[in-house]
Amino acid sequence: MSFKSAVITFPGSNCDRDALCYLKDLTKGEVHNIWHEETSLPKVDLVILPGGFSFGDYLRSGAMASKSKIIDEVVKHANDNRYLLGICNGFQILTEIGLLEGALIRNKKLKFLGKNCFIKKKFKNNFNLSIKDKQVLQIPVAHNEGNFYCDTETLNLLKNNEQIAFEYCKGEFSNTEENINGSIEAIAGITNKKKNVLGMMPHPERAYSDFHQSQDGRLIIESLIS
C-alpha cells in the first residue's frame, strides 16, 4: 500500500517545495500540494505544514495561518488519527491552532538562527522509531521564534505523557551550543498526547538528499513508513 501525503502552502511559505520533494523522493507515493484557501483535503497518511513566514509572521508567527480555511480539514485529519507534521513555521501554526501545547517565542539571544543543529530523540513515537536512543541527528534550523515556552504544569504534562519528541544536544564540535534558542529543557519538537501530530523547529526536509550536508532527516519519513 503506497504512502500518500500532502503539503499545505500558505502565502509566505518558503519550504513547501522542499517538503514536496522530500515526500516525493522518500515515500515514492502520491504527494499533493494544497493551497490554504482550499476547503477539502484528500485522504492522505501524512500532512506537512511547511516552514516559512506565513502571512509575513504578522501579529505572531503562525497566528494568521492558524485561521486559514484549510485548517478545519487539517484538524479533522489529525482527529482521524492520521499523521500531521509541522516544521518550523508549521510547528508555530500547530501551537496557534492549539493542536500542540505551548508557544514559540523569540530566540533567547534575539538572533535569527540559520545553521546546522544537533538533536536527539527524547521519548519514542511513530515519527522517531527508526532513530536509535542517544543517536545524534544533524538537521538545520532557520528561525527567529523557536524558543519553546510552556508553563510548569504543561511541561510536567508533556513529560508524563512522553510528548517530548526531540531535544537539542551537543554535536560533534565542542563549541556547539547545547540549547541553541533558549527553549525550556532544550525542547526541539513535541507531539500531541495521541502522538500522531509532531511539531519540530529543525528542518528534516533540508537534510535528506545527497547534495545536503546531512541525510538524517530521512529517518523521520522512514519511521512513518516502516
Binding site: 501579529l59 505572531r60 497566528a63 485561521k67 501551537t95 496557534e96 505551548g102 508557544a103 517565542i105 523569540r106 530566540n107 533567547k108 539571544k109 534575539l110 524558543n147 515556552y149 510552556c150 508553563d151 533558549g182
Partner: protein, 79 residues
C-alpha cells in the same frame, strides 16, 4: 469610537527585546531606566452606537480568537 488594546508578554516570560533596549538606553546615559519590556498596541474603530456590553464582549472575543495568545500574552483595553 477608537479602541486601544495593549498586548504584552506575561511577566514571567523572558522579553529579550526589552533587555536589548535597556542596554542601549543605559549606554546612552539613561542609567536610571530598568526592567524595560516591549509590548504592542492594537488600535481599531468600533461603531459609536454599540452598547458597552457588546463592545466588551466583542473585544474579549476578538482577543481570545486572534489578537492575543493567552499562553504567553495578556492584554488590557485602554480608555
Amino acid at each position: 469610537m477608537r479602541i486601544k488594546i495593549l498586548v504584552r508578554l506575561k511577566g514571567q516570560i523572558l522579553e529579550p527585546q526589552g533587555k536589548v533596549i535597556e542596554q542601549a538606553l543605559n549606554s546612552l546615559g539613561f542609567t536610571e531606566f530598568s526592567n524595560i519590556r516591549q509590548g504592542k498596541l492594537i488600535e481599531l474603530d468600533l461603531p459609536d452606537n454599540i452598547s458597552k456590553e457588546e463592545k466588551a464582549q466583542k473585544i474579549e472575543s476578538a482577543c481570545k480568537k486572534l489578537l492575543v495568545n493567552d499562553i504567553i500574552e495578556e492584554y488590557e483595553v485602554l480608555g
